[in-house]
Symmetry: C2
Subunit: 295 residues, 2 copies
């Protein structure tokens, strides 16, 4: 019988823990964590994400500030704002909601954020420190997956973990993090991608599969061995006449077929997704406490 | 019949190419690449490495400077010297020979080097940029291995590459570099280490094996499939009554047993080793040309 890894419930637990921490900080007269988000333009998905982050901050007692710009803002103006926030002792963490308009170099903006405030963990300094094994902000999705593995006490040492996808946001960091000498970690990790041959054979040898390629229902039962742990990172929005909204979300895993073979599996929605915002909150708490960058 | 990947000959070729570049730069009145090395104390191996780097610079027409300190130097003094070199427009690349004395924080020194001059590629910014896929200095051993793969036109796309070892200097960067969307790259990469189970089974499925664990003659014939490419990164010095020096170098691969099964194999010595210094020279050339960090 498989067990569902309940990301929604776990995220709620983590939020409660963070809220309790904030209460302690308040009692002790400490610095209340403060997250700033820069939102450029009016992209619907970006608006939704930023609103979700604001709401999550408020739910745990963090301060949050959203700085909005029209998509006519110049790169120079945006970089100046980032520089200003870098120096502002009141703001602990800064995220710039992506994507940015075409005329702005996203990488330049990401690299302008002070690593100590880069709670998204996208700055090369944080990526590099994570790889080297130094304290670093780990980006939200990989951090959320590690948290789920840990909370469900899923054994990882010596296990063969197959990561499908080599993105900067999920595949690459997951491969590094799961092969680290720690728990969760100490996995033998294989990274697969569009050029991989004999994929099904490789995934069938996996004790843990992290599916992060972004193709709905890609991972089928024939690709999974009995007793595997399956982490589904994919989110594809497809039309549906069975939901009120007319849309439904599908993961990279054919859940109904695959789940019966698993020991643990994350659903979509309600698996990895809800963990990403709490990972951001945890990073913001670390930032307020100066735990990653003490000085 | 297997083919030996001749690192010594390849390194000589690359040095000639670099020397030709330097001649062109001279003709055009450009900036002659200049590498500075800081050497603290009198460790025998460190002295040898630094002397080798100096000699290599001189052989290709680079300028080089070795800055020597007794091992009584304070961390503060060392950091001040690094800061001074960071600002010196004459010096393009700076390496600090490791290990440093116990009372000096190595990581702090590495992070003090301006990423644009960090030709060893150890700074988190260079590690992070490499992982993200941005232009970066790639550290000497991984860069040397890529160069050998490329010069021998060894196919990598879709191949299963097994990296044994998860060190910051070899295993981790090799796993990232060989899974990149490029050539050499596009491999399905598995990272194995001390906690890996069924290692022989995994290595037997490999088209390419990178052995970087540091155990003499660890990889035996039974662990390698017919037609594999084997890259041996290990160097272990053992006593020998058959050499004048009384020592010989052994790789991580049992060469005599394994070679007959391979299509390509690197020997030790004379394989990966000679490529590391030329990788450093290539990075220094990139630094002099401001190719990685234009501003």
């Amino acid at each position: 019988m498989y067990r569902i890894i309940d990301g929604k419930a776990t995220a709620a637990t983590v939020r409660e823990e963070i809220a309790a921490e904030v209460n302690k900080i308040k009692e002790q007269g400490g610095k209340i964590p403060h997250l700033a988000a820069i939102l450029v333009g009016h992209d619907g998905a970006s608006e939704t994400y930023v609103a979700g982050k604001e709401k999550a901050c408020s739910a745990v007692g963090f301060y949050s500030t959203v700085i909005r710009y029209e998509d006519t803002i110049t790169e120079h103006e945006l970089l100046e704002k980032v520089a200003e926030i870098n120096k502002d002792p009141e703001i602990d963490g800064l995220i710039v909601q992506l994507p940015l308009p075409q005329h702005i170099n996203e990488q330049k903006v990401i690299e302008a954020i002070r690593p100590a405030k880069d709670v998204d963990g996208f700055h090369p300094v944080n990526v590099g420190r994570m790889v080297i094994g130094l304290p670093a902000y780990i980006s939200a999705t990989p951090a959320g997956i590690l948290e789920l593995i840990e909370r469900y006490r899923i054994p990882t040492e010596g296990k063969h973990c197959v990561v499908i996808g080599r993105s900067n946001i999920v595949g690459k960091p997951m491969s590094i993090l799961l092969s680290r000498k720690s728990y969760p970690g100490n996995c033998t990790v294989t990274v697969c991608h569009s050029r991989t041959q004999h994929l099904a054979e490789i995934t069938r040898s996996a004790d843990i599969i992290v599916a992060a390629l972004g193709k709905a229902k890609f991972l089928t039962a024939g690709m999974v061995k009995d007793g595997a742990v399956v982490i589904d990172v994919g989110i594809t929005r497809v039309k549906s006449d069975k939901t009120k909204s007319g849309w439904k979300l599908l993961g990279d895993v054919d859940f109904e077929q695959v789940a019966p073979k698993c020991t643990y599996i994350t659903p979509v929605p309600g698996g990895v997704g809800p963990m990403t915002i709490v990972s951001l909150l945890k990073n913001t708490l670390l930032a307020a406490r100066r735990e990653i960058y003490p000085s």
